[in-house]
Symmetry: C2
Subunit: 389 residues, 2 copies
């Protein structure tokens, strides 16, 4: 087990009707917020009205910025920064999924920074301060509601880059599973792939002696695997929605990587796909992860066999661990298919046209390595993308 | 799943040599601390010197109060409050196990309070403010290093009572598994029983649909069960000590009870035993918990059967769940015996002399109920104590 620091300060307010507490909680921080959200879905469901009413009842002045898209864009972040500066807004409330929250976090670190906020995402500069961000979560997937990270897409060159910093932990996040009843099944499934990938990125590690976190990963993963089909069958199954929502947060709040170094190669590769093709991040992960596994499993067959046994209840076979490992990879791929996700680039109509470009951008023209279980160079990334065709 | 709020702000600094960071971390809060500890063990091991040096290097003035005993006493808490008030000390650093930390928390809520700090423990008053507390943990057991609770014994009548309040979360806790190498095996085993009990108090619940937290409980429990014998065999097994230490914290940081109501009957009953007989809390729990289980398991045979199957790998038998449940209880009792713990009051030379008194105090003369899976009255508590003889 590696030395580590764990300090997640986000206050989680979980359960039915909890969005009605947003005004009271926000009032502890400010009298003026930027309400940040996506399109019309929160208006259709009535969530927008409930949030606005709660904020107004608490005497909070509300400015708005809507229009966050999946794979949230830098240009909108700049717009948000301008609104906050002009109106002396010191608190961002994100109502939506990971894209909205990530966009809110980018605005929050951008407001007090003199340079271009992209500097942080490009790794040129490090944030020193940030406005507080809070969230009302509507999509269990990205885990951004209790994470210290944010991923933004720069339209100038279609770069999708992440920033991780403790200033990015939201001060509070409201999680009402009922708000996820209206998610289309495809989006629920994409969320599942994202959550499962967050766990697997941590599970596949070269760090030895990480028993507790292995088991915590398995607990969280199995909960997702069991409950997603229940939610797909009955979208208003509160119990299934609640398990998924809380598991999605636990998957990415940094508990599961305490004392271990995760991989994150599949995430890096997927970012290149969704930056260019604008597919759902979860769908991209369902395509990349099995390909990545097939490419690297021989680096640690015992760990991939343990994954198969514990996550998927594949029979133990100490005489052929490779077979066990491969059955685990197949189980993952079959599961993704069973919940309606693509598992090949061809399933989302992506051909080999940009593979070289993606591999190049992912590795900064082969000057950077990606992942940890196996440090992938440009050729490795290209091979994985080809396996995913 | 019940609605819940989860907000654990304690910064965990985990790993080898981390106690050397105590000065730097403390300096973020204060220039003056009360160093609170037990007897001479931290001097023998050199930990005292390392902590003092780190604090002094950071330019921190150190006042000291040693002498914390197991089942920490109210009189020493009063002494600590006096020292802090007289010297304007605004930060308590606990170096030790749960008793030291609980005593430090009591001092911390006592200093700004005009009345008697026991009011909080007696439930007469609620704390409004507290000094910050930090810890350097030496015994994985109580989980107080990342919990919002404290248990103190009032020598006037030998009442042992707990206080739970979010003001009691330490601001940071330093966990170096190497510091536990010198623990006597009996103390390691008592710590295991305490940790396992913390998990089981949460696991046995009447709340339905709590799949993720069930599985997180199982993950943490199995990690303890597997690693304790390794640490007993080789006290300097870093990996085993690290798993135990982190599992002990996760067991009691309130993650495992999110969305569910725990039982805590066994803890309440045990407090009466260790208040009168001054036995180790963990030893008391190893005695009470199996007796409590035998008394209440019929209230929810499926949960006790699940406990047996998942925690102890007892074979499934859907045709006789009661048999499965009873095998789980036996497995726990056998495990406690195997690591050198008592499982009957007679093993620690306690006879039936004070059973009636303990049952009476535990239930406030039969006016209060204890536990949640089954709400125990005085007669129930007496029956459980008799089962434990």
């Amino acid at each position: 087990m590696d030395n580590f620091i764990f300090n997640n300060p986000t206050k989680i307010i979980f359960g039915k009707d909890t969005e009605l507490l947003v005004g009271k909680e926000t009032k502890k921080y400010t009298n003026k917020v930027l309400l940040h959200y996506g399109g019309g879905s929160i208006k259709k469901t009535g969530l927008y009205d409930r949030v606005i009413n709660s904020l107004k009842e608490a005497g909070i002045e509300v400015f708005e910025l809507s229009g966050v898209q999946p794979n949230p864009r830098l240009s909108l972040v700049h717009k948000g920064i301008d609104i906050c500066r002009k109106n002396n807004i010191d608190f961002i409330l994100a109502v939506g999924g990971g894209s909205v929250i990530d966009s809110a976090k980018a605005i929050a670190v951008g407001v007090p920074y003199e340079g271009n906020v992209w500097d942080f995402y490009a790794g040129i500069s490090e944030p020193k301060e940030a406005l507080p961000v809070a969230t009302v979560l509507t999509i269990p997937a990205a885990g951004s509601e209790s994470s210290n990270s944010s991923v933004i897409t720069n339209e100038d060159g279609w770069y999708k880059r992440g920033l991780t910093h403790n200033l990015l932990y939201p001060v509070f996040s409201i999680l009402n599973p009922e708000l996820t009843y209206t998610l289309p099944n495809y989006q629920t499934a994409c969320g599942a792939a994202d959550i499962m990938a967050h766990i697997m990125e941590r599970y596949f590690t070269n760090t030895q002696h990480v028993e507790l976190t292995d088991r915590l990963c398995e607990a969280t993963f199995k909960t997702i695997v069991r409950n997603i089909p229940l939610a797909l069958k009955n979208p208003e199954d509160y119990n299934a929605r609640a398990e998924i929502m809380w598991a999605g947060t636990v998957a990415h709040n940094n508990l599961l990587n305490t004392g271990r170094l995760g991989d994150w190669g599949s995430h890096d590769i997927e970012h290149e796909i969704s930056a260019i093709y604008d597919i759902a991040h979860g769908a991209g992960l369902a395509i990349v992860f099995p390909a990545w596994m097939k490419y690297v499993y021989k680096r640690d067959i015992r760990r991939f066999a343990q994954y198969a046994q514990r996550m998927w209840n594949i029979d133990d076979n100490l005489f052929d661990l490779e077979d066990v490992a491969l059955r685990g990879i197949a189980a993952l791929e079959n599961y993704f298919s069973s919940i309606g996700l693509p598992t090949r680039l061809s399933h989302v109509n992506i051909d080999d046209k940009h593979l070289e470009e993606m591999a190049d951008k992912c590795t900064a023209s082969d000057t950077q390595r990606v992942g940890a279980v196996m440090q992938l160079n440009k050729n490795d990334v290209l091979n994985i993308l080809k396996l995913a065709l």
